[in-house]
C-alpha cells in the first residue's frame, strides 16, 4: 500500500467503478478500496441471507422463499435504456463482453387508478386506452413530429426553434390534454417533476426520441434491458476493466480515512495503519460525510412475490411509473419488478420494488398506491434512506464525491453524474459517440 497513486477511489458502487475504469484506461495509476468485503457498495445485489441481515431481521429466511444464493436483490434497482447513456458507456469501454442482458418485458404508466402500456409511437398512440378518440389523433401528430424531428434539418422543425420555445409551448401547439402531458413527460421523457415544462424543449424532444428508439431496438415490450444476475454485475464489470488496465483492488479495508495537508488538500488514504499517497480522491458520500449534505430521502419497499404484477400482461420484468399528479404528490413513484427470468430469484419468484422521494416519515403509508398494484406479497422490507450531494470545491481539496442514487428506475441521472465527475477529475470529456447500430444483440 505504501505507494503513490494518481487517484484513490473509495467505495465500489457503480459510479465509482465506472470512474475507476475510465481513469485506469486513461493510464492513471488507480487504487480502489472498499470497506465491505463485497463489490457494489450501495449498488450491490444481495442474496436472501444478506438481505435478511441488511434489514436487521433476526430469524433466517423461511424455506418457502427458496435458495438464498439464487437471489440477487438490487439495492438500487434500475433498468437500462437500450439506447441510453449507460449502454454507450458499456460499449465505449467494452465492458459489455463481461455481461449478459435480456430485454425488459414491459413499460407501463399508472393513470386514473389503472396501469397501461406506455404508448411511444404514433401507431401505439392510436391503440392506447389512455386517451380518447380525438386525443389519440392529436397525440399521433405529436409523435410523428418527434419521430421526424432532426436537429440538423430545419424542414423537420415545423417552425419551432426548440432552443427557444419551452416544452409547454410544443405540447400546447398540439393541444394535448393534461393527462397525456403527464404520461409523456414522466413515462416517456422520464422527468421526475414538472419543471421541464418551462425549459427549452430540445431536451424534452431528445428524451422522447431516445425512448422510442430504445423501444424499437430489441423488439421487446419496453425500451429497457437488464443484466442477468442483477445490477451488482455492473460495478464488478467496470472494476474488472479497471483491474485489466492496471488498477489495484482491495476489499474489506476498514476505516479508509482520507488524509489532508495543511491547505486542506487530499494527499492520501489511511487504512489499517498504512497510508497510500495520492493526488486525488474519488468516493461516495459515505467516505467523506463532512463534504456532503443531505438533499433528500428515498422511501422504498422491497417485496418478494409468487406472481407477476397484475394487469401487466404477465410481464416477468416491468417498470411502472406513477406520475406525481395521479397521486397528488410532489414526486413520481416508481415500481420495478424483476424475476427468475433475469436470474435474480429462484424459479417462480418475483422481486418488486416501490420507491419514491420521501415526503413523510411513514414509508408504509406513503408507498401504499404503489404497493396496491402489486397484488399479494410474500415478504416486504420497508426503509427510508438519505440522499447526499457533495458540497466541496474540488479544485481546493482534490476530492470528488458522487451524488447518492435517486429513486428513478433508470440510469440516465447516474451516468450524467459520472460523466460530469470524470470531466472535473481529468478536464476531458468522454466521447460517447459509439456506433450503437453496430453494437447489436446476439443470442
Amino acid at each position: 500500500m505504501d505507494e503513490e497513486y494518481d487517484v484513490i477511489v473509495l467505495g465500489t458502487g457503480l459510479k465509482e467503478c465506472i470512474l475507476s475504469g475510465l481513469l485506469s484506461v486513461d493510464g492513471l495509476k488507480v487504487l480502489h478500496m472498499d470497506r465491505n468485503d463485497y463489490y457494489g457498495g450501495e449498488s450491490t445485489s444481495l442474496n436472501l441471507v444478506q438481505l435478511w441481515k441488511r434489514f436487521g431481521k433476526e430469524d433466517t429466511p423461511p424455506e418457502r422463499l427458496g435458495l438464498s444464493k439464487e437471489y440477487n436483490v438490487d439495492m438500487v434497482p434500475k433498468f437500462m435504456m437500450a439506447n441510453g447513456a449507460l449502454i454507450r458507456v458499456l460499449i465505449h469501454t467494452n465492458v459489455t463482453k463481461y455481461l449478459n442482458f435480456k430485454a425488459v418485458d414491459g413499460g407501463f404508466v399508472y393513470s386514473k387508478g389503472k396501469t397501461h402500456k406506455v404508448p411511444a409511437t404514433d401507431v401505439e398512440a392510436l391503440k392506447s386506452p389512455l386517451m380518447g378518440l380525438f386525443e389519440k389523433r392529436r397525440a399521433r401528430k405529436f409523435f410523428i413530429y418527434v419521430q421526424d424531428y432532426d436537429e440538423s434539418d430545419p424542414k423537420s422543425h415545423e417552425g419551432l426553434d426548440l432552443n427557444k420555445v419551452t416544452a409547454r409551448d410544443v405540447l400546447s401547439k398540439y393541444g394535448l390534454e393534461d393527462n397525456t402531458v403527464d404520461f409523456i413527460g414522466h413515462a416517456l421523457a422520464l422527468y421526475r417533476d414538472d419543471s421541464y415544462l418551462d425549459q427549452p424543449a430540445t431536451d424534452f424532444v431528445k428524451r422522447i426520441k431516445i425512448y422510442a428508439e430504445s423501444l424499437a431496438r430489441f423488439q421487446g415490450g419496453s425500451p429497457f434491458i437488464y443484466p442477468l444476475y442483477g445490477l451488482g454485475e455492473l460495478p464488478q464489470g467496470f472494476a474488472r476493466l479497471s483491474a485489466v488496465y492496471g488498477g489495484t483492488y482491495m476489499l474489506n479495508k476498514p476505516e479508509c480515512k482520507v488524509e489532508f495537508d495543511e491547505n486542506g488538500k487530499a494527499i492520501g488514504v489511511t487504512s489499517e495503519g498504512e497510508t497510500a499517497k495520492c493526488k486525488k480522491v474519488v468516493c461516495d458520500p459515505s467516505y467523506l460525510p463532512e463534504k456532503a449534505k443531505k438533499v433528500g430521502r428515498v422511501a422504498r419497499a422491497i417485496c418478494i412475490m409468487n406472481h407477476p404484477i397484475p394487469n401487466t400482461n404477465d410481464s416477468h420484468s416491468v417498470q411502472i411509473i406513477l406520475p406525481q399528479k395521479q397521486l397528488q404528490r410532489k414526486s413520481d413513484m416508481y415500481v420495478f419488478c424483476c424475476s427468475y427470468s433475469h436470474n435474480v430469484a429462484p424459479k417462480g419468484k418475483f422481486i418488486a420494488f416501490v420507491s419514491t422521494e420521501a415526503e413523510t416519515d411513514q414509508p408504509e403509508v406513503e408507498l401504499k398506491p404503489g404497493m396496491d398494484i402489486l397484488g399479494p406479497v410474500e415478504e416486504t422490507f420497508f426503509e427510508i434512506y438519505d440522499r447526499f450531494e457533495p458540497t466541496n470545491q474540488n479544485e481546493d481539496d482534490g476530492c470528488f464525491v458522487s451524488t447518492s442514487y435517486d429513486a428513478t428506475t433508470h440510469f440516465e441521472s447516474t451516468v450524467i453524474d459520472v460523466l460530469s465527475m470524470y470531466t472535473k477529475i481529468t478536464g476531458k470529456e468522454v466521447d460517447l459517440t459509439v456506433d450503437l447500430s453496430a453494437a447489436s444483440a446476439t443470442e
Binding site: L99, G220, G221, V244, T248, D435, S440, A441, T442
Partner: protein
C-alpha cells in the same frame, strides 16, 4: 456455461492461482505461442479466446485471466459466474504457492458450479533443480479433490497445449444451457440485432 449445438461448444475457462505462478504465461504460450522471461503483471488484456478442433467437437474457450484482482483477494463473483472450466496454477519451486493453490480449490468449490472441469497445473516444470513441490504430492491431492493434474512449463511449452486440450475433451458434450441465454451486446458490425426469445 458450456453450450452445445452442432457439436460447437462455447466454454468459459477461468485461471486461478497466486501472483507469479505463471497464469498469464500459460495463456500467452497457448494462445500466442509466446513466452516472456520477465512478464509484467497482467495489464491491458485479460480476455482471450481460442478455438480447439477435436475429433467430435469444436470447442471455443473463452479464457479469463485474473487481471491482478487475486492479489488482495478481491476477485468478483462475476469472475466465476458461468465458468465451465478452471485451471489452478502454482509454481513447483514455491511451496507457498502450492498451499495457496489448495485455497483456490476451496474457493472454487464455494463459488463455482459443481460440474466444473478443473485442472491443477504445476507450472515452471523447467526449473527442476529448484523444485520444492513433489509431483506425487500434487497428483495425490488432485485425485482426492477430483481435479486432473499436469506439470507444465510456459517457458518450454511442455504440456501447455495438452492441458487446454484435455480440458476441452473433458467438457460435457450435450449439456443443455442451464440458463436461457440472454443477449450479449457486442461491438461487431456483422451480427444483426435479433429479438431475444426470453420474454415469456
Amino acid at each position: 456455461m458450456a453450450t452445445a449445438g452442432n457439436s460447437n461448444i462455447n466454454a468459459k475457462l477461468v485461471l486461478l492461482g497466486d501472483m507469479g505462478a505463471g497464469k498469464s504465461s500459460l495463456v500467452l504460450r497457448f494462445v500466442k505461442g509466446q513466452f516472456l522471461e520477465f512478464q509484467e503483471s497482467t495489464i491491458g488484456a485479460a480476455f482471450f479466446s481460442q478455438t480447439l478442433a477435436l475429433s467430435d467437437a469444436t470447442v471455443k474457450l473463452e479464457i479469463w485471466d485474473t487481471a491482478g484482482q487475486e492479489r488482495y483477494h478481491s476477485l468478483a463473483p462475476m469472475y466465476y459466474r458461468g465458468a465451465s472450466a478452471a485451471i489452478i496454477a502454482y509454481d513447483i519451486t514455491n511451496t507457498e504457492s502450492f498451499e495457496r493453490a489448495k485455497k483456490w480449490v476451496d474457493e472454487l468449490q464455494k463459488q463455482g458450479n459443481p460440474n466444473m472441469v478443473t485442472a491443477l497445473a504445476g507450472n515452471k516444470a523447467d526449473l527442476e533443480e529448484n523444485r520444492k513441490v513433489a509431483a506425487e504430492e500434487a497428483k495425490a491431492y488432485a485425485e482426492v479433490n477430483g481435479l486432473f493434474f499436469m506439470e507444465t512449463s510456459a517457458k518450454t511449452a511442455v504440456n501447455v497445449n495438452d492441458i487446454f486440450y484435455e480440458i476441452a475433451r473433458r467438457l460435457p458434450r450435450a449439456q443443455p444451457a442451464q440458463n436461457p441465454g440472454g443477449m450479449i451486446l457486442t461491438n461487431t458490425p456483422s451480427e444483426i440485432a435479433q429479438s431475444s426469445n426470453c420474454c415469456s
